[in-house]
Amino acid sequence: MAIAGFLVHAEAGQSERLEAELAEIPGISTFGVHRECYIAAVAEAPGNSMEDLLHRVHGMDGVLTVYVTSMTVEDELVV
């Protein structure tokens, strides 16, 4: 299982709605809206579907872009 911390950069006025929508996506936990436009979040998914998950976020209405702050894959690499 990979774990990614990330920030969603939301278009002006979209962050509250987006945070609620993100919280509904399985595997994603949100940690509030910051400086009006950034939603802090964590995604947890098997390594081979993490990109799908983050892409889904990237493609949501009102998302300007997604910045990853950390990615841990340790249990997939260290048995």
Binding site: I3, G5, F6, L7, R35, T69, S70, T72
Partner: protein, 755 residues
């Protein structure tokens, strides 16, 4: 993984994300992340020219995590590519043993010992030189190679083998920017830095899809825009990319007509009296297209024909938008231009660079925070590794030129080789090099850290030389297209398996430290180069180094007193700090943000009478050039009525030998496609997903269609990452007269639905 450990890692990930926006909850981060790995090792992302700082988490003898370095310019943020670097290290098809093709071209690559592989390559090089002299061998390097590797290879080939046949893939991406800086300001490399993004009130982004090619810089621009409603963004690009989503004004011009657009903006600036005579009368010379001095009045007369209406006719940009762009640029308190391959990969790429500089010099939008021309680089070390070390066919280190006798003598003295060792004749630039290989003039080439059989233009023509010349190659991954032609393959240590310096877009040099041991039988490239050169007959006294740090020490010393002075960047200091921007002449110097500016740039005397001093020019003044509009080499015509362009997608980098290893990234973009405007699609009866043929004067290929208004009518786009669809087969290989950079961005094509 136990549930509690997963919770713990999730907490750490959340804390890091929060830390990036300055939330107090980030207090968790330090404790959480520090405990999840044994140690964090500082480095630089392996991918793009943004040069984001990373920290590699190591547990036992394995790298297990990556996080953004909060102390580097990226403030802890990464894009998906950078964040997913760990699986690339452990990709199944890593090359971990030397290989040779015992049965010659076409036979399989067999495992070999290091000695056998090195002897094999060295023997072929000796044989080539016996038959054709020093110029029968060549080095083809990379803007992804470490600085120490490029410096060393340059020295071995130019002073050891005595050939200037040293070139590399920066010729394909940055050469026009280099020649643009050299002709306008007298020295290569930008005067601004990323800090300017925090101060600019007008961004002029041209020929750059920043949101996909440099995602972390895009954040900085978008953040600046959000910080103030007064900040304006102009995006000039034939495609409506994500970058244009944050623009106040999108100038969608017909591909290849941007020289007219840039001259049109200058025309409006003068007509509306938005120019800055006080600035240009003090700091600027006006120069005709053939290099003769002229006056401002001549420039004004030259621009007379570029009326907004005429520019509209040529470019398709409404005259009102040309006027608006010129006004936004000139009337802003600080204008920052950003550009990339859309400007550089052109047969008039140098001119296009000059014309961007012209706008800044005409308005005085230069040498202040936020006011600067700043070219973005595509690769992580094209600037620091190749441009600064002079690892191209016409260059010598630190801004010296092969053709300059004094410069050659300086290098011969510094390198301790007899006078006359360095040949006065320039070597082959990239396209000429591969042509010379096809002709048999260059008989053996050492290719390092790049994949030319995928990235060269007009591949059918230019890979011919690889079929006949002896090819020695350092490579990390088995699926690199060039391996098909390699006679010997050296397994190189990858990224954080070794150590070395990268220098990114903003003159920032940063060290990647070794985090883990090289995999299998891989070795650091500096070791490979030295062992190979010695066996090939180069005097080993030329490279008395134990490791990369020794090479850095020599290069740092050589830079002392030069216009590229970074003598203050000791290895110890680079280990401690997250990158330093040159000029940085002393160990206590903090690095330079505003180059050429008195009080900022240590190379400008503190008592210089002028605030700005372009010390690369004999009289300290920069040049405004009278460069006319010229169409691209192969515009659309009645036989080939569409323009084909190419570029990146966000999740793949270059030839995807790395990003293609990450299933997540590969899944996002499994294969190449062609973008077609809905208007054209309707006319041609093409629907989404249809097989579409692109036929140019070189070749014909089929791609699935993506119907989207990203491309304007008349333009189609194909990304180049896909090794199964080598779109570069379709492009011609015409080059810029001065920079010798090919015009990847524009060729004429037919477009039709596959029968």
């Amino acid at each position: 993984m136990t549930v509690s450990r997963r919770k713990f890692l999730k907490g750490s990930a959340a804390a890091l994300a929060l830390g990036m926006v300055g939330s107090p909850a980030c207090a968790l981060a330090a404790a959480g992340q520090e405990e999840s790995v044994d140690r964090w090792v500082k480095g630089v992302c392996r991918y793009c020219g943004t040069g984001c700082g990373v920290l590699v988490g190591v547990r036992g003898d394995r790298a297990v995590a990556v996080k953004g370095d909060p102390d580097n310019h990226n403030a802890g943020l990464l894009c998906l590519k950078g964040a997913m670097l760990i699986p690339v290290i452990y990709a199944e098809d890593r090359i971990t043993e030397p290989m040779i093709r015992r049965g010659g071209k076409g036979s399989p690559l067999d495992k070999a010992s290091w000695d056998e592989a090195l002897d094999f390559a060295a023997g072929a090089f000796r044989k080539a030189m016996d038959a054709g002299g020093p110029d029968a061998v060549a080095y083809y390097g990379s803007g992804q190679a470490l600085t120490e590797e490029s410096y060393l290879a340059n020295k071995i080939w130019k002073a050891g083998f005595r050939t200037n046949n040293v070139d590399g893939n920066p010729r394909l991406c940055m050469a026009s920017a280099v020649a643009g800086y050299l002709t306008t300001f007298g020295k290569d490399e930008p005067m601004g830095t990323y800090n300017d993004m925090d101060a600019a009130t007008c961004f002029f982004i041209i020929g750059s899809n920043t949101s996909e090619a440099h995602p972390v810089l895009f954040r900085r621009i978008a953040q600046r825009k959000e910080s103030s409603p007064d900040v304006k963004i102009i995006v000039a690009d034939p495609r409506r990319t994500n970058t244009s989503r944050i623009a106040d004004l999108h100038l969608s011009f017909v591909a290849g007509t941007d020289l007219a657009l840039l001259n049109g903006m200058a025309h409006v600036i003068i007509r509306e009296e938005l120019d800055n005579p006080r600035f240009y009368s003090r700091y600027v010379n006006f120069v005709t297209n053939d290099g003769k001095p002229c006056a401002f009045e001549d420039y004004k007369a030259f621009l007379a024909e570029y009326t907004p209406e005429k520019v509209q006719e040529i470019t398709g940009v409404p005259a009102a938008d040309v006027i608006r762009a010129a006004k936004l640029f000139a009337e802003s308190s600080s204008a920052l231009s950003l550009w990339c391959m859309g400007i550089n990969q052109r047969t008039r790429g140098v001119w296009a660079n000059n014309l961007i500089h012209n706008l800044h010099l005409l308005t005085g939008q230069i040498g202040r925070p936020g006011a600067s021309p700043l070219s973005l680089t595509g690769q992580p070390n094209a600037c620091g590794g190749v441009r600064d070390t002079g690892s191209l066919a016409h260059l010598l280190p630190a801004g010296r030129m092969v053709a300059n006798e004094k410069h050659r003598a300086e290098m011969e003295e510094f390198w301790g080789v007899p006078k006359g060792t360095i040949q006065p004749k320039m070597g082959h630039h990239t396209v000429a090099l591969f042509e010379a290989m096809a002709k048999g003039d260059v008989k053996a080439v050492f290719i390092h850290c790049t994949n030319p059989a995928h990235t060269l233009p007009d591949l059918n023509a230019l890979t011919k030389g690889l079929e006949t010349a002896f090819v020695a190659q350092t490579e990390c991954f088995m699926d690199a297209e060039t391996l098909k032609y390699a006679d010997v393959v050296f397994p190189a240590a990858f990224w954080c398996e070794t150590e070395g310096v990268y220098g990114c877009t903003e003159r920032r040099y940063a060290l990647t430290e070794q985090a883990i041991k090289p995999m299998g039988n891989c070795r650091p490239t500096v070791r490979i180069l030295m062992d190979f050169a010695e066996k090939a007959g180069v005097d080993p006294r030329l490279f008395p180094y134990k490791n990369a740090a020794d090479i850095w020490e020599e290069w740092r010393t050589l830079s002392k007193g030069s216009p590229y002075d970074f003598y203050g960047m000791t290895r110890a200091r680079l280990k401690k700090e997250s990158g330093i921007k040159w000029p940085c002449p002393t160990e206590d110097h903090p690095g330079t943000n505003l180059r050429y500016v008195r009080g900022e740039d240590p190379l400008v005397p503190v008592n210089h009478p002028d605030r700005l001093f372009f010390y690369g020019r004999p009289d300290g003044k920069a040049n405004i050039f009278l460069r006319p509009y010229q169409p691209p080499f192969e515009p659309a015509d009645k036989d080939y009525p569409f323009i084909l362009t190419t570029g990146r997608v966000i999740d793949h980098w270059h030839t995807a030998t790395m990003t293609g290893k990450v299933p997540e990234l590969q899944k996002a973009y499994p294969s190449a496609f062609v973008e077609i405007n809905p208007v054209d699609a309707q006319k041609l009866g093409i629907s989404n997903g249809d097989r579409v043929v692109l036929e140019t004067r070189r070749d014909r290929m089929t791609f699935p269609a993506r119907i989207t208004d990203t491309c304007m009518p008349g333009l189609v786009f194909c990304p180049f990452f896909d090794k199964n669809k080598l779109v570069n087969r379709l492009f011609h290989h015409a080059v810029d007269n001065a920079s010798k950079e090919p015009e990847y961005k524009i060729c004429a094509t037919r477009v039709y639905k596959q029968a």
